[in-house]
Amino acid sequence: MAYSNKVIDHYENPRNVGSFAKDDPSVATGMVGAPACGDVMKLQIKVNEQGIIEDAKFKTYGCGSAIASSSLVTEWVKGKTLDEAQQIKNTDIAHELALPPVKIHCSILAEDAIKAAIADYKQKRGS
């Protein structure tokens, strides 16, 4: 599998690997994918009172491009409002990482992870 340098870089030096405390009320979690399909992404966002994503962390079980996609979105969501983060498209992720066609599903999964984390936050806040 010939990957772009960006995928290799994110894979070798993944940004923001880790977890936040689950009981922190400012933290929301999005978990998408399935082990049987070969990828599971867990994206956590930490949102401040102004509704801005202050920090993000991920853990991913998956191929190189799944790890790179999730690493990239942790960088992208930081500093964005929830609405702005909601706008991140899988095509942007795929384009940025120059993902080969068979790996587009990794970028879709990363977009789903953002949306799942935001939904979790909104649910927690009761809005």
Binding site: G33, A34, C37, Y61, G64, H105
Partner: protein
């Protein structure tokens, strides 16, 4: 140490330098470049003699008669010729064939083709250790069964099927028995004077010979007949036309000669390296050896690493050249059908690595491999949400995953 370390000997082996040396003598004007089928001059006679010596060398490794060896372009062609050739020649007797789900694609796809042509094929399951249950095989046999095709050594997990017992069974029922032995020459002793095997496929490049050459053993007593699949000048007793590739055939002969001479000492050495590798890895948590633990060749070790994904594991192991059962590394999207046939979950099949050790593997390379594997597993599990869940005592089977 040169990196990457080659641990993919089951995919192909490098040509032994002694073999390459020999092969080069059969190409140029200074060498013996003649067509072995040329009967009218010395160039042809010399090439023919070289081919016949090679034929004897191949026959000697497996204790067969040289006249029972037919040269082909490789084990894939040998498998096709054996299965289609026998099924077609004996079609009046019946049109039912039996094989096993863990066979190489060259066997399975040849069978599929015969199904399209009106034959019926039974694909036997294997047990969880990768071996065929003889009782299940017996139950699958019918009066109209003409051919049973079962491989000797499995290319993915290295298990050795009991071809002696299967041969007896087939012979007692008058069924032709074909064995794909691409992975076993030079690794397991083969005695065709005693084995009740009728057809056996060999490969050059799995035994330190060149790619593009193979052979098919076709038994003379009792005589097995085949419908030719390649028509032309009537070479190889009409079973496989086409000018013989003298340089490749000579090289394959030399590689089989070396295999016969060195098999015992080489397998002992590889066993020590294999044990060293497994002992260095087996204490990692949630690591599983695939296939029978004892009835297998030492050269192939297939291991699943739970909670890490196969392709990212391959990427983390970039300094060692190995194969993965993960779909991500291949054109298809299914994980290894061989591992699935053993009953492994998709996850474990995805996270499997085949380490195959060979003639030029060193102790230093094995030690470095162990170190790299530990680092890779640590890194990927640190990143794996599934590992966290496992550590938290979550049963992953109870989680409602969103399949995609």
């Amino acid at each position: 140490m040169n990196l990457p370390i080659y641990l993919d000997y089951a995919a192909t082996t490098p040509v032994d330098p002694r073999v390459a040396e020999k092969m080069m003598q059969f190409l140029t004007m200074d060498g013996q470049f003649g067509n072995p089928a040329s009967r009218s001059h010395r160039f042809g006679w010399q090439a023919e003699e070289a081919v016949e010596i090679a034929r004897s060398q191949i026959a000697e490794l497996v204790n067969a008669d040289p006249r029972e060896i037919v040269f082909t372009s490789g084990a894939t062609e040998s498998n096709n010729l054996a299965i289609k050739g026998a099924a077609e020649f004996y079609h009046k007797k019946g049109k039912h064939l039996i094989t096993v789900k863990t066979e190489h694609k060259a066997v399975l796809d040849a069978m599929r083709q015969l199904e399209r042509e009106g034959y019926e094929v039974t694909y036997l399951d294997v047990e969880a250790n990768g071996l065929v249950d003889l009782e299940k095989l017996t139950n699958a046999m019918r009066p109209d069964t003409t051919v049973v095709s079962i491989m000797h050594v499995n290319n993915e997990i290295g298990v050795v099927q009991d071809i002696a017992a299967i041969g007896e069974l087939c012979r007692s029922k008058g069924i032709i028995f074909h064995v794909d032995a691409a992975q076993s020459t030079g690794r397991v002793a083969i005695d065709l004077q005693n084995l009740k095997v009728d057809l056996m496929s060999f490969s050059g490049h799995k035994t330190y010979g060149p790619k593009g050459v193979g052979a098919l053993f076709v038994r003379r007593k009792p005589r097995i007949r085949l419908e030719a699949q390649t028509h032309g000048g009537g070479h190889e007793r009409g079973m496989r036309s086409g000018t013989l590739a003298t340089h490749q055939i000579v090289a394959m002969g030399e590689s089989f000669r070396i295999a016969k001479e060195e098999m015992a000492s080489e397998q002992a050495r590889i066993t020590v390296l294999r044990d060293r590798l497994w002992n260095g890895i087996k204490d990692i948590e949630q690591v599983f050896l695939n296939g029978d633990a004892t009835q297998r060749v030492p050269g192939i070790t297939n291991i699943s690493f739970n909670y890490v994904e196969g392709e990212s594991l391959i990427m983390a192991l970039k300094d060692i050249a190995v194969s993965s059962g993960s779909a991500c590394t291949s054109a298809s999207l299914e994980p290894s059908y061989v591992l699935r046939a053993l009953g492994l979950s998709d996850e474990l099949a995805h996270s499997s690595i085949r380490f195959s050790i060979g003639r030029f593997t060193t102790e230093e390379q094995i030690d470095h491999t162990i170190k790299i594997v530990h680092e890779a597993i640590d890194k990927l599990r640190e990143m794996s949400p599934l590992w966290d869940m496992y550590k938290d005592g979550v049963d992953l089977n109870t989680v409602a995953w969103v399949a995609h």
